[in-house]
């Protein structure tokens, strides 16, 4: 990987995150105003102090005007970004690079999505005019290829596999029950998850993330300026993003048990951050649990478990809030839903909260007691074999 990274050159000095859910009474303008307001307040600055903005939204507006119009931003650069489910993370990555370049002193990365105005079940994506030959499968169907493929490859029987997927959903809902910003703030019994109506393949409704509205934002400055704004800045250790060649759908050797794009972006991010053993070094990870088998496969692709063993680690509680490496401590997409442009920044907000030891009931003990100071966020957009992937690592300590 010829990726140099910008380790410890920029820092997050303020963040905001709205509650996620069915905001029938709020427009995307309202959500953006709320998240931006919380972020600047958190950094102790005024909106006018921010020099440039990166807005991530997939379908809730086009151009920088989507942000500048409601906030009445005065003639500043506002870049609108779309990169499928990594949209929010991409707003953050590009804002970080602008600050690292020296061109900008203070930047805002903000993401928002208003899904519940559409009136449809599940996510919908409008495509450019086409010849009509592309398969019209839904996202749960595309991701449902993972579970039987994984089970077959590693000799996991159907009942065991159901237990594994159920436990992932159960764990994420359990975490979300402790989070006031979550869409679903309650635990869900394993029997309910396991017996939920089937949507696609072996996936039931509780194997799928929900549909919600939300917004989150971060204020970014150069690392040397960070302590001017806060005693507890969070430093950017690594940013990696890859778009794959979409080889999976063409390649008979692709077996639906891995996301090559995630392996590549994860490896790149670890190299940038100087991480050699992510499971031992990270305090937590926020990963893209769009569907329960996605989280299972990600545990191996991100190096949190050996190939073929993630299912056992899931059952053993390795990724629970009180486990060896908590995954999705805020409740994940499972508890938050997936307002696409906002999700990546919502994940970052949990890293910010945990590493600053402000997570209350959800606070990860290793941050407080064990001296773990690094957190990871991950998004993927697309489908198995054909996706984009983003991985960031952030930490609470500046460069040594």
């Amino acid at each position: 990987m010829a990726s140099n990274g910008i380790r410890d050159r920029v820092a997050i000095v303020g963040m905001g995150c709205t509650p996620f859910g069915e905001h029938w009474d709020k427009s995307v303008d309202d959500l953006l105003i709320d998240a931006a307001g919380d972020a600047v307040a958190s950094a102790g600055v005024k909106l006018d102090d921010v020099d440039a903005f990166w807005l991530g939204t997939m379908g809730s507006g086009i151009s920088g005007l989507t942000l500048s119009r409601p906030l009445k931003i005065d003639y500043k650069p506002v870049t609108r970004i779309e990169n499928m489910c990594a949209t929010g993370s991409e707003a953050f990555r590009n804002a970080c690079y602008a600050v690292a370049s020296g061109a900008i002193d203070l930047a805002m990365a903000i993401g928002a999505e208003k899904l519940k105005d559409g009136g449809f079940s599940g996510l919908t994506i409008s495509s450019p005019p086409s010849d009509g030959t592309a398969a019209q499968l839904t996202a749960p169907a595309l991701f449902s290829f993972l579970a039987p493929a994984y089970a077959k490859k590693y000799g996991v029987d159907e009942a065991e596999m159901k237990d594994v997927l159920t436990r992932i959903a159960w764990k994420n809902h359990r975490n979300g029950a402790l989070n006031p910003r979550a869409q679903f703030k309650r635990e869900v019994a394993k029997e309910v998850i396991c017996n939920s109506p089937i949507v696609a393949g072996p996936l039931g409704i509780f194997d799928c993330s929900g549909v919600s509205d939300g917004s989150a934002a971060a204020i970014i400055c150069r690392a040397e300026d960070a302590y001017k704004y806060t005693d507890k800045p969070i430093f950017v250790k690594a940013l990696s993003f890859v778009a794959g060649p979409a080889a999976g759908p063409l390649d008979p050797t692709y077996d639906f048990t891995t996301f090559t794009e995630v392996v590549r972006s994860g490896g790149d991010a670890y190299a940038q951050a100087g991480i050699t053993d992510p499971r031992a070094e990270l305090a937590m990870a926020e990963v893209h649990d769009c569907f329960t088998p996605t989280e299972l496969v990600l545990m191996e692709d991100l190096g949190f478990a050996e190939r073929g063993f993630a299912w056992k680690e899931v059952l053993a509680g390795t990724f629970d809030l009180d486990g060896e490496l908590p995954v999705n401590p805020d409740g994940g997409l499972k508890s938050f839903g997936h307002p696409i442009g906002a999700s990546g920044l919502r994940m970052l907000f949990e890293c910010w909260t945990q590493l600053r030891q402000e997570a209350g009931e959800r606070q990860i003990k290793s941050v407080v007691e064990g001296g773990r100071k690094l957190a990871l966020t991950h998004n993927l957009g697309g489908q198995p074999g054909e996706c984009v992937s983003f991985v960031s690592v952030v930490g609470s300590e500046p460069a040594a």
Binding site: G122, T133, L137
Partner: protein
């Protein structure tokens, strides 16, 4: 070395409606037996493609076909030619003309006669006949109709039958009719049609026999088809042929398949006839058209060239008979069901469709000239070796494939949920994901052997979106492996 039919193909759709299911729902007497039902993703165009593929496979390919015609009483488009889609899906050369011939059952005979005439003049046409017969719920057309297609390749030599005599009778009278766009046909009192048809049919047969120098008892096979079942039975009886000469009318299993029925009946006879036999074919549709054929020595070799899974007897005996009447009504748009809470399907756009018609209609993949990797859909840059613009198109429509993995999508829009989707690995290389059809979700499994079939994915804004799906290979010699 006669000119005439050298290859054929019949297509009977997979589904049958048990007539008892109509009676069970509507509380009337709906008769016995079943009728063939085009699936929700089929229309007369797609069924003509399937019959045409069978005929071309038997004829040794599409390369030397000189013209295409398509006849149906239920065209999917008016004003726009339907035969051009069939032409594209069969992979015919661009210099080959493609025409729709008529919108009535009688046009079937005309299409066959034209095929014969073109071949006599040295041509090699393919003639396709296809129909979907609808009727209002509880009516005779719904009950007794059927859906099917047939196709014939004609050539200047080596025909399996030569034409001995033809005769016609034409008269204007009102027996059945349909205004364009109407869901069903109207019909005058049944006994009036019988009264009008009987003398026309008898005169045509008498003239044909006279021209051929034959008597009725010398006929080896007699086919009488037409939309008026009672008139057909009466005329058939009046011909006076030997009882064993009469071909079965197929109504008990597949129903009367309208403009396709003449073709299906001819296939039924030629697949079992012997060389040197006479066949009378009488079409009673807005008049009477009769032809007497004599089979040739080329027949046995042609019969042997019919692929096992394409034989009509097998297709008739196969099929699935548990189709619910409510599902049938939904497929024929007689019952408008609540759609899922998903966006409406988007119609295909004309320019991208035209740019990719080799893929969309012809199912032409591309094979990398450098490393041999197959790409579905065709690509300019090789996924394996990254060579650019070194690709050769390769038609995979007739190449079998194996299911690598699959899923059942209960959320996606379909007229017949749930959608079954599979990842396919083609024999000889190449992977592609697509919908499956003509199977129960419980049938799909890893390793299932499948073949491609041309279908109508959906219709949006009045535009039919045609593409290929996979269906199980059900022939005797191709199990799952």
């Amino acid at each position: 070395m006669a000119a005439g039919i050298v290859a054929w193909g019949a297509y009977i759709p997979y589904f049958r409606l048990d007539r008892a299911a109509i009676g069970a729902t509507l509380g009337n007497a709906a008769g016995k037996g079943t009728r063939a039902v085009a699936s929700y993703d089929e229309d007369t165009t797609s069924m003509a493609v399937e019959a045409g593929r069978a005929a071309l496979a038997m004829a040794g390919g599409a390369d030397d076909i000189g013209s295409l015609s398509f006849t149906t009483s239920a065209p999917s488009y008016l004003d726009k030619t339907n035969a051009t889609a069939i032409h594209a899906a069969l992979g015919l050369r661009s210099c080959v003309p493609a025409y729709d011939l008529g919108g009535s059952v009688r046009s079937a005979f005309a299409a066959m006669a034209r095929g014969q005439q073109l071949s006599a003049a040295g041509g090699r046409p393919i003639v396709t006949l296809s129909d979907i017969r609808t009727g209002l719920p509880g009516g005779a057309d719904e009950r007794d109709g059927g859906d099917a297609a047939a196709a014939f390749v004609f050539a200047a030599t080596d025909a399996v039958a030569e034409v001995v005599a033809v005769a016609h009778q034409t008269e204007e009278f009102l027996d059945r009719w349909r205004v364009p766009g109407a869901p069903a046909s109207g019909q005058w009192e049944e006994r009036f049609g019988e009264h009008a048809y009987a003398p026309l049919g008898e005169a045509a047969v008498t003239d044909a026999l006279k021209a051929a120098g034959l008597t009725a008892t010398e006929l080896d096979h007699v086919i009488v088809t037409g939309p008026h079942a009672r008139a057909s039975r009466r005329v058939a009886g009046a011909i006076g042929a030997r009882p064993e000469a009469y071909a079965p009318d197929l109504g008990a299993v597949i129903g009367n398949t309208g403009a396709a029925h003449l073709g299906v009946a001819v296939v039924e006879v030629v697949e079992r006839a012997e060389p040197g036999q006479t066949i009378l074919v009488l079409s009673l549709a807005d008049g009477a058209d009769a032809v007497i054929l004599r089979t040739t020595a080329a027949l046995p070799a042609a019969q042997a060239a019919v692929a096992a899974d394409r034989r009509l007897a097998g297709q008739i005996a196969g099929g699935r008979t548990d189709l619910a009447y409510a599902t049938f009504l939904t497929w024929r748009e007689m019952l408008h069901r609540e759609p899922p809470r998903r966006p409406d399907p988007v119609p295909p756009a004309a320019p991208p469709t035209r740019r990719r018609d080799g893929w969309k209609y012809g199912f032409n993949a591309s094979r990398c000239d450098v490393c041999g990797t197959r790409h579905l859909p065709p690509a300019r840059v090789c996924v394996n070796c990254r060579a650019q613009d070194q690709m050769t198109p390769e038609r995979l429509a007739d190449v079998p494939a194996t299911v690598a993995t699959f899923t059942i999508d209960r959320l996606a829009f379909s007229l017949s949920p749930p959608v079954v989707a599979a990842v396919l690995d083609f024999d000889g290389g190449g992977r592609f994901s697509c919908e499956m059809t003509d199977l129960d979700p419980s049938e799909v499994k890893i390793g299932l052997r499948v073949q491609m079939t041309f279908r109508k994915l959906y219709t949006a804004d009045g535009i039919h979106n045609y593409f290929w799906k996979a269906k199980p290979l059900r022939s005797a010699d191709e199990g799952s492996k």
